[in-house]
Amino acid sequence: MSELKFLSPINAEQLTTLNGALTLTDVGAATKILVRAGSETTAATYLSTSFGCSREIIDGVLVCGTRPDEWTLYAAPEMANEVIGTIPEEGFVTVLDITHGRAMIRISGSCSSLALAKVCNIDFADDMIPDGAVFSAAVAGVSCDLIRNDQTEGRSYLLTCERSFGRYLFVALADAGIEFGFDPPEGWTLH
C-alpha cells in the first residue's frame, strides 16, 4: 500500500552556494491558512496585522496581511487544526486550509535580492521592502505573495504561489541563482 505522506509540489533538495550567499529551500509543507474577514470582525481584531505587513504571533505562527480583509497564516507543518482553532469565527469569516494549494519557497542570503531582481520587477531595496513587508508580484511570470522574513542569518524572503506553479517557480529561481553559484541538478534549469 502506498505510504500516506504529504508531498510538496516542488519536492527538491535545498540549493545553496558555496559561500552561503544564496540559499533556496522548498518549505511547501508549512501550514498555510487563509482567513478572509471584514475589518469589523473579531477575527480581524485578533489577527491585528494590517495589509502589507506581517508579524509573528504565538508559537511561531506568521500572520501576513496579504490583501485588504485577507490574511494568510504560516506555521510549522501539520499545525492546521491548531492554527484554525485560534481564529474567532464570529461574523462572516472564511477560514480555509490552503496548505495543499500553495507552494512555498524560502530564498535567503545576501544575494537573495539580486537573484530575485532577475525574475521580479520590484525594488527590493531595504527601505522599499523592509523586513516584515508583504506584497504580491509576478515572479518569473508567476503570481506570488512575497514576504520579507529575515532570519538570524540575514536577509530572507518567503514566496508562495498556486501549487501547480511551484516546481516551475523553484526552477526559475534556481536558474536565476546560477550566476551566484547555484549548481542545480540536471533538468532544474530553464535552458
Partner: protein, 952 residues
C-alpha cells in the same frame, strides 16, 4: 605578420603588450594585444580595407574607429555584423569580411559601380514593380544582395542571454567627465546610481587626450569606483527610455552572458553621451584612409597605431588641431593643414585600395595616404527624443541642442554645450545634484504611498531649483558638404547626389527622404549621417538647416541582439501533483494552456476501451475549482449562470453555463453544494482564471453588499476521475463513511468523505465519459497516495490510467461539447442546445438581453453530431462543411475522432440551421481537397444517448 603600424609604447595606451593575441582575418593569421579592438589590431598589422560598401561594393576602411563605424562590420566565427571598431580582440578569434564574393580583395559585387548610375536612390521601387507576377522572383534575387553577415540558422553556437531588473535612483547614460561627475554628485547625496558607459572604460574623450585629461579621468574614475552607491556598467549601452523613466540597458560586460538586458526603473535619468563626430561630404570621402579626427586620435593614443604616413587634415575645431599634434607625435608627415574656419576645404580624394591623392580647395593636388577631417559634431539626442524632446538646430554652434525635457530626465556634458573639462565636470556635478534631489523626493513619495515600505521618519528633501550655470555654445563653422558629391550614408551607400535627386522627385520631407533613399537606416542608424542628410536636403531647397527638422530617433539607441531581447524566457508551466507519476510512467506530454498533462500512456484507443469495459482513472486536476462561501452564493450563481440555483439542495450538483454580456458562451461546469453556505464551483481548465476574475469583479463592483468569499483551489485539490462500469466497485473498497449506491448517491451528487485514508476529500458523481464515474477531489499533498492506491486496489478490476486523448474520444462518443473547441467567440447559447437550461424569465443574468435576442433568431449555427458515410474517414478538425455543389461554407467540423466503441469515425460540428435536421447529408471539404458526405445525427451522443451507462 609584423605589426608594421604599431607605434612604440605610449603614455595612456590601453593595450597590454605583455599579452599577445593571435587571430585570423579572412583565413590569414594576425596578432594583436590584449586591449586592441579587432580594427586596431588589423590596422596595426597594415590592413586598410575592412569591408565593401553595400550597394557599389567600394572598398571601405576605418572611418570613426568606434562602435558606430559603418565600415567595420565583420563576421566573427558564426556571429554576423560584429562591430570591429568596438569589439575587443580575443585569442583565437576567426574574423572575416562579410557581404563579399568571392573575396574582400576581389569582390565581383564591385561591378555594380559600372552600372551605378542606374542604381540611384529608390531604383528598386522604379525597376522591380512590373510585371507584377515577377515580384517573387525579384524578391528572391534582391534578397541575395542583402547586406550583413552570415547567419547560421541550423548549427550556430549561442550562449545564454539574460535579463534583470533594477531600480536605481539615478541612471547616468555616459561615463565621460560630465557623466562621472553627475554620478558622483548624485551618489554623494545618498542616491543609488547606475553609471552606464558604452565603451570598455570610463573617461570618454579624456582617454585619448593629453596627460592632464587622462589624469582627470583617472581621478574621477577612481572616485566613482570607490563609491558604494554607484554601480558601474562599462561596455554597456542605454538603448531606450520609455514612459515613467523605464530605461533599457544592454550590458555586454557580464562574464557569464554575452549580453544582458537590464530593465531599469530610474528615478532620474541623466543623459551624458558626449558628442559624435560627423563625416564631411566630398568626392571619395568613403575611400580607405579617409578618417575622422577622433578615429585618428584613438588609434594613436589608445592603441598606438600609426594611421598613415602622409596626412592631409581639414580642421574646423580644436580636436582637429589636437589631432595635428598627435599625428606629428606619431611620426606622420603632415602634407597639408586646412582650416575650415578660414574657408579651407577638400574637393576630392582619389586612390584605389586607399587614398593616394587629395585635391584641396585651392585646386592643388597632394599625395597623401591619410585624409583626416574634423568638421563637426552630432549630438546623439536619441534618449532625449525618446523622452519627448525635439532638439533644435543652432547654426552658430552647427549642431542640435535639447529644448524641453521632462522633470525626470536631465542632460549634461557636450550634448548641452561646450566648455573646459572643469566646466563640464562642474555642470555634471550640478546635474547630478539636481537628479538626486528629484529622485530622492520621488523615492520619499513612493515610500509614503507603498503600504509595505518603510514609512520615512523624515520629510522629503527640499526641492532645489534648476539653477545650473549653462554651458556655452562655441561657434563652429557649418561644414557639411564640399563642392563635390560624396557619400552621406556609408552603411547604405547613399550619396548626396541621391538625396538631391530624391528631393527633386518630391521627397522633400526629411522623413520621406529617409524612407525613399534609406539614408540613416543602416547599421549606424543615423549617428553619423542624420545631420549631413538634413544639411543636403536644406541645401537642395536652399533653406536653413534649422527649417528641415530631423528624423525621429527611436529605440534602440544601439543595435541589440535578438538574444538579449529574448533573454531568459519565463513561460510558466503548471504541473499537477501527479505529473511526476505520469512522467515516470512514460506518459506522452501534452501542453494544454499552461498545464502539462498526460496525453496518453502509449495507446489512447486501448485506454478508452478499458474505460468502457472496466475502469480507468484520469488526472483532471486542471479543471478549475473555486471554493465559494457565504450566504449569498446562490445570488452570485443566479447572476453568472444562465440557469437557476436558489433551490439546489445540499449534496446535489448542477450543470451550469455562463455567457458573456454579448450572449456568447463563456464557460461551463458543475457546481455542488457542500453545506448551506459552502459551494464548490468547477470551470473549464482554460477558463478558471477568467471566471475567478469575473466573479470577483461582480462581487467587488456591482454587489459589494453580498457576503461571498471566492477562493481558487484548483491546484490544492487534485482531481481524479474514476470512470467505467467497475468504478463503483473500486471506490467501495477505498471510500469510507459514504454509501456509494445509486439510491444513496445518485447521479449529479456530491459528498465529503475519506478516500484511501485521506480525509477531507470531495467525491462527485458526475462524468464526462458517458460511463458510471466519480470525480475525487483530494488534498494535493496526498494525491499520489490516492492515485497509487486506486491502481493497486483496482488491479483485479482491470484498472488502468487514461490520458487526455482517451478522454476526448470518450466525451465525443458521448457528445459532450468543449467550450472553446466546439464553440468559438461567436457561439451563443441557442447554438449548443442549451434550450432547457436557459431561463429567459430570470430577473437578471449576465447576457440576458442578448440571450433573449438570440433565442428570437432562427439563423444561428447549430452544434450537431455528425458521422461520415464512410466510417473509415476522420475529417480533420476545422474542416469546412460546404454546399454539395460549391464551396459555399455552411459550417465546420469542431471535433472528430475514430470511435473505438463504434468502430467508425464520429464528429461534432456547427452547421447552418437549415442543415441541422437529423438525417441530412452534408458535404465536408477535406484538407486534401476531396469532398465526403457526412450524416447529421439525431442526438449529440453517438454512444448511449439515453445515458443508461452513467446512471447505473
Amino acid at each position: 605578420m609584423t605589426s608594421c603600424n604599431r607605434l612604440p609604447e605610449r603614455d595612456g595606451e590601453i593595450i597590454n603588450r605583455s599579452e599577445c593575441l593571435t587571430f585570423t582575418w579572412n583565413g590569414r593569421t594576425y596578432s594583436g594585444f590584449s586591449g586592441d579592438t579587432i580594427a586596431s589590431a588589423l590596422a596595426a598589422d597594415g590592413v586598410d580595407v575592412f569591408s565593401r560598401g553595400m550597394k557599389y561594393h567600394r572598398r571601405r576602411g576605418i572611418l570613426s574607429a568606434d562602435h558606430w563605424d559603418p565600415n567595420l562590420l565583420v563576421q566573427v566565427g558564426d556571429e554576423p555584423n560584429v562591430r570591429a571598431g568596438h569589439r575587443r580582440l580575443t585569442d583565437g578569434m576567426s574574423v572575416s569580411a562579410q557581404n563579399v564574393w568571392p573575396s574582400l580583395r576581389l569582390d565581383l559585387g564591385s561591378l555594380n559601380q559600372i552600372v551605378g548610375r542606374f542604381l540611384s536612390a529608390g531604383f528598386y521601387y522604379k525597376t522591380f514593380m512590373r510585371p507584377k507576377f515577377m515580384r517573387p522572383l525579384y524578391q528572391k534575387i534582391l534578397s541575395r544582395f542583402a547586406p550583413g553577415g552570415r547567419v547560421y540558422w541550423e548549427n550556430s553556437s549561442h550562449d545564454i542571454y539574460d535579463k534583470r531588473y533594477s531600480h536605481p535612483d539615478v541612471l547616468v547614460a555616459g561615463g565621460g567627465p560630465a557623466g562621472m561627475a553627475a554620478a558622483l554628485a548624485a551618489a554623494d547625496k545618498g542616491a543609488s546610481v547606475m553609471l552606464v558607459e558604452h565603451e570598455y572604460q570610463l573617461g570618454g574623450h579624456l582617454l585619448w587626450g593629453c596627460s592632464s585629461d587622462r589624469m582627470t579621468a583617472a581621478v574621477l574614475e577612481s572616485s566613482v569606483r570607490d563609491h558604494r552607491n554607484i554601480e558601474i556598467l562599462v561596455n554597456s549601452t542605454v538603448t531606450g527610455r520609455y514612459d515613467h523613466n523605464w530605461v533599457s540597458v544592454i550590458d555586454r560586460s557580464h562574464p557569464e552572458f554575452p549580453e544582458r538586458l537590464i530593465r531599469a526603473r530610474a528615478g532620474s535619468l541623466v543623459v551624458a553621451p558626449g558628442l559624435l563626430e560627423r563625416p564631411y561630404i566630398f568626392a571619395g570621402n568613403d575611400l580607405p584612409g579617409v578618417m575622422l579626427s577622433g578615429a585618428v586620435r584613438r588609434l594613436i593614443n589608445l592603441w598606438a597605431v600609426k594611421p598613415g604616413q602622409r596626412a592631409v587634415i581639414l580642421s574646423a575645431n580644436s580636436q582637429g588641431d589636437e589631432t595635428i599634434a598627435d599625428l606629428r607625435d606619431a611620426g606622420v608627415e603632415i602634407v597639408a593643414e586646412l582650416d575650415a574656419r578660414k574657408g579651407g576645404t577638400i574637393i576630392a580624394a582619389q586612390g584605389r585600395g586607399r587614398v593616394s591623392k587629395v585635391t584641396l580647395g585651392d585646386g592643388r593636388t597632394v599625395n597623401a595616404d591619410l585624409l583626416v577631417v574634423a568638421t563637426g559634431w552630432t549630438a546623439p539626442t536619441s534618449l532625449l527624443n525618446m523622452a519627448g524632446d525635439r532638439p533644435v538646430y543652432d547654426p552658430i554652434a552647427a549642431r542640435y541642442f535639447p529644448v524641453s525635457l521632462p522633470n525626470e530626465v536631465l542632460a549634461t556634458g557636450g550634448i548641452v554645450g561646450d566648455g573646459s573639462i572643469e566646466e563640464l565636470v562642474e555642470h555634471g556635478k550640478s546635474t547630478g545634484d539636481l537628479a538626486a534631489n528629484r529622485a530622492l523626493r520621488l523615492r520619499h513619495k513612493r515610500r509614503k504611498s507603498l503600504i509595505w515600505a518603510n514609512n520615512p521618519d523624515h520629510p522629503a528633501p527640499d526641492e532645489i531649483p534648476d539653477n545650473r550655470s549653462q554651458l556655452l555654445r562655441s561657434p563652429h563653422p557649418e561644414c557639411y558638404r564640399s563642392t563635390t558629391h560624396g557619400m552621406v550614408d556609408m552603411s547604405e551607400d547613399v550619396s548626396s547626389k541621391d538625396l538631391m535627386q530624391a528631393a527633386t522627385e518630391g521627397f522633400d520631407s526629411i522623413e520621406l527622404m529617409k524612407r525613399y533613399t534609406t539614408v540613416t537606416m543602416g547599421s549606424a542608424q543615423g549617428k553619423l549621417e542624420t545631420v549631413n542628410a538634413a544639411a543636403v536636403l536644406a541645401e537642395s531647397h536652399d533653406v536653413p538647416l534649422a527649417d528641415i527638422g530631423t528624423t525621429v530617433w527611436r529605440p534602440p539607441f544601439a543595435p541589440v541582439t535578438l538574444g538579449a531581447l529574448a533573454g531568459r524566457i519565463h513561460e510558466p508551466i503548471r504541473r499537477s501533483a501527479l505529473q511526476d507519476w505520469h512522467e515516470a510512467h512514460d506518459a506522452t506530454p501534452l501542453l494544454a494552456g499552461l498545464w502539462i498533462r498526460p496525453d496518453h500512456y502509449g495507446d489512447a484507443y486501448s485506454e478508452a476501451e478499458n474505460v468502457r469495459s472496466n475502469v480507468g482513472i484520469i488526472d483532471v486536476t486542471p479543471l478549475g475549482k473555486l471554493d465559494l462561501r457565504g450566504p449569498d452564493v446562490p445570488k452570485l450563481l443566479e447572476l453568472v449562470y444562465v440557469n437557476r440555483w436558489q433551490k439546489l439542495e445540499i449534496g446535489r450538483v448542477r450543470y451550469g453555463t455562463m455567457v458573456a454580456e454579448d450572449g456568447v458562451v463563456l464557460d461551463d461546469g458543475v457546481t455542488g453544494r457542500l453545506s448551506s453556505d459552502h459551494w464548490l464551483m468547477t470551470t473549464t481548465s482554460s477558463g478558471a482564471g477568467a471566471v475567478w476574475e469575473m466573479l470577483e469583479d461582480w462581487l467587488q463592483t456591482a454587489h459589494p453588499e453580498w457576503n461571498v468569499h471566492v477562493t481558487p483551489v484548483t491546484g490544492g485539490l487534485t482531481s481524479i476521475n474514476v470512470a467505467g462500469p467497475k468504478s463503483r466497485t473500486l471506490l467501495e473498497r477505498l471510500v469510507t463513511g459514504i454509501d456509494l449506491s445509486s439510491e444513496a448517491f445518485p447521479y449529479f451528487s456530491v459528498r465529503k468523505g475519506t478516500v484511501a485514508s485521506v480525509d477531507n476529500c470531495i467525491i462527485w458523481r458526475i462524468g464526462f465519459t458517458g460511463e458510471l464515474s466519480y470525480e475525487l477531489h483530494v488534498p494535493s499533498g496526498f494525491a499520489i497516495h490516492v492515485w497509487e492506491t486506486l491502481l493497486e486496489v483496482g488491479a483485479d478490476l482491470g484498472i488502468s490510467p487514461f490520458g487526455v486523448e482517451a478522454q476526448r474520444i470518450l466525451r465525443l462518443e458521448k457528445g459532450h461539447y468543449i467550450v472553446g473547441q466546439d464553440t468559438d467567440g461567436l457561439t451563443k447559447a441557442p447554438s449548443v442546445g442549451l434550450d432547457s437550461l436557459v431561463k429567459l424569465d430570470k430577473a437578471d443574468t449576465l447576457g440576458l438581453p442578448e440571450l433573449r435576442a438570440a433565442y428570437a433568431r432562427n439563423d444561428l449555427p447549430v452544434l450537431v453530431s455528425l458521422q461520415p458515410v464512410d466510417g473509415s474517414i476522420v475529417p480533420d478538425e476545422a474542416c469546412q462543411i460546404v454546399a454539395e455543389d460549391s464551396n459555399k461554407i455552411l459550417g465546420r467540423i469542431t471535433s472528430s475522432r475514430m470511435s473505438p466503441t463504434l468502430g467508425r469515425s464520429i464528429c461534432l460540428g456547427q452547421v447552418h440551421p437549415t442543415f441541422a435536421i437529423s438525417g441530412t447529408i452534408v458535404t465536408v471539404l477535406l484538407v486534401d481537397g476531396s469532398r465526403i458526405p457526412v450524416t447529421v445525427m439525431e442526438n449529440h451522443a453517438h454512444v448511449d444517448p439515453e445515458g443508461e451507462r452513467q446512471r447505473v
